[in-house]
Symmetry: C2
Subunit: 367 residues, 2 copies
């Protein structure tokens, strides 16, 4: 089977090779600081006895699982630490596709490309979870198409790339539909700390036997490289999830788990609020400057990304390259997120050169 | 699909709950120190700029890949960093089973149980790679049974649990057989630094288009918890392996990679020699004490493990528990490594209480 790399890499390497100054707004790597306690946790770990350098339990360090369970108000048994949310999603999809072999996986379209690309690798059949004009899942379409042939419905709220935060009603309807058809809802909630709408609703709130939550500290602690994520599963799935998880990765790196656990313990709410506040300001700046140029943008309800609809420039890889060369700004073309969309670009607000980027883009788009 | 956890966990948790002093010889967790430079590398990493806390390239940090490539004398392109050898094996098996869907996987029997348990999870059909009385793969059996229905043959040398180090001739014959049948040889070489026979031969030596090597720093640097492993693949498999690897884990933890890279650079050969020497002495002590009691042992040619054949005690989980309670020594029963073997126990020499353990066992077995 030919497995493609996501288009991210093409855009990033083109930007890296450009013969000019480029403002990089491609990846979701936070450009802000992790909490100081994270560094401290890593230093303390480095000095510990050698026996703490050996395998963590396959499900994760007990203390970290306890912290996660407490935060989400669930039983510790249901928490499995994974190598980032990426592996949590891989694990959840592999469980769903074991329950319904060759089953359909509804992944948001446009959507984060890893969901789409993992589906055939795990033997599933990719189906489009269509979004309404507002960016929310099209419930009518789902109700008409989800069936017992379906293995999973993937949700991602706050959403990458649309910026949509799904309402409680939306999540509830999808969970009910999933239960009726014995389908799993895989809810990727990695941007949950970055909800500007106040309406974020975790799948956990419905206490469903069919809801699997995936998450990570990559974004909330600004450590995408540490690979500490987790999944919270319904009780009946826990045993098989543990066994599968063990066969994929044996266990998750312990330096990262120890540092995250220490950081969670020693970091107060102000850290998270300040990062969220900064992103909100970046959104305001980016959107308002572009709107001054008359460029249409979607102001996100959550997450790191702004979608921009330039009038005379399709969201293709070719145009993304042209934008790098001509405007000095790198963003993701909409074609990277699905087959049918070629009219926008996604810009990650993970740079402090937001105003500069918006002006460059404004001038480029109206040119 | 019901996926069982390896039996390790039953034995370990029984030992942990025992109401007496137990010498633990169950897991392959080194009990010796990692190199000091590893701690130093982790401390230095903790103080680096926040941008180094973000995603490593999915294939791994360039400097670490370069070090690995140089050590094994291969092109860097062929190196992919993985979450331990465990994930390297999972990745290699998934590639082989994509080339030959539902194909047969020949895994050593007796053998490390993860190979056996991963096979059905990845859709393969498990076949026994029978061992001759000496512990080496039975080449005749392989020649008669490997066919185009076969996806992979798994080798592990130095071997866990047999202690066998395969000769160059054995590896060569298996590689030839694999090439003739368009089958992949997955050669797990995690114990390569612990060869006491002088005859260790890597699959890489045959420069085969069908040889995939898997390895890790877990044992060589005494850091099973860091999850830094790697695979060296034939050129034609590299692209699909990279894409698959990305879809499983996105990337491997960067603190671990940075620390390992620093350690490799700053650790001299004496470190590795001294650990090997220590294990050799432990083997001598363990085997000679048991032989004084008249207990039959297999002296390993490589690796961490000694197999012991008590005359009147089958190698079952039940007897392993009895041994914990009565002798105060925890070891793995042979039934954990395959269906047909119930006449030995495997003891991991990862404790400094070797002589004490051997005396306890000697008295228990002759009782």
């Amino acid at each position: 089977m030919k497995v493609d790399q996501p288009l991210f890499f093409d855009v990033m390497s083109y930007a890296n090779q450009a013969d000019r100054d480029v403002i990089r707004m491609v990846s979701g790597n936070p450009d802000w600081e992790p909490p100081e306690a994270l560094r401290e946790g890593l230093r303390q770990y480095a000095d510990q006895d050698a026996d703490t350098f050996q395998y963590a339990p396959s499900v994760g360090l007990p203390r970290l699982r306890e912290q996660i369970a407490k935060y989400h108000n669930v039983s510790e048994d249901r928490v499995i630490i994974t190598n980032g949310a990426g592996q949590a999603n891989y694990l959840a999809m592999s469980i769903a596709l074991d329950h319904t072999p060759s089953g359909e996986v509804f992944a948001p379209d446009p959507g984060y490309p890893y969901y789409q690309k993992r589906t055939p690798v795990l033997g599933g059949t990719l189906k489009k979870l269509t979004l309404d004009t507002d960016g929310a899942p099209d419930i009518n379409q789902l109700q008409q198409t989800v069936s017992e042939e379906t293995a999973a419905i993937i949700l991602n709220s706050p959403n990458n790339p649309t910026g949509k935060v799904y309402t409680a009603e939306t999540v509830k309807k999808i969970v009910e539909l999933a239960e009726q058809n014995d389908v799993f809802v895989i809810s990727d909630e990695v941007y949950h700390q970055f909800d500007y709408s106040g309406q974020f609703t975790s799948v956990l709130e419905f206490e469903s036997s069919h809801g699997i939550m995936t998450n990570s500290f990559s974004k909330s602690l600004a450590i995408t490289g540490f690979r500490v994520g987790y999944s919270i599963l319904p009780e009946p799935l826990v045993e098989e999830a543990r066994a599968r998880n063990m066969l994929i990765n044996v266990s998750v790196n312990r330096p990262g788990q120890a540092a995250v656990s220490h950081a969670l313990n020693a970091t107060d709410e102000a850290y998270f609020e300040s990062n969220k506040h900064q992103l909100r300001e970046r959104i305001d700046t980016f959107v308002s400057v572009l709107e001054e140029y008359g460029v249409q943008c979607v102001r996100p309800e959550g997450g790191f990304y702004v979608r921009v609809y330039p009038q005379n420039l399709g969201g293709t890889l070719e145009n993304a390259k042209h934008m790098i060369d001509s405007a000095g700004v790198a963003g993701m073309p909409s074609t990277a997120f699905g087959d049918d969309v070629d009219d926008w670009f996604r810009f990650a607000l993970t740079t402090d050169r937001i105003s500069d980027a918006a002006h460059r883009l404004g001038e480029y788009f109206v040119d």
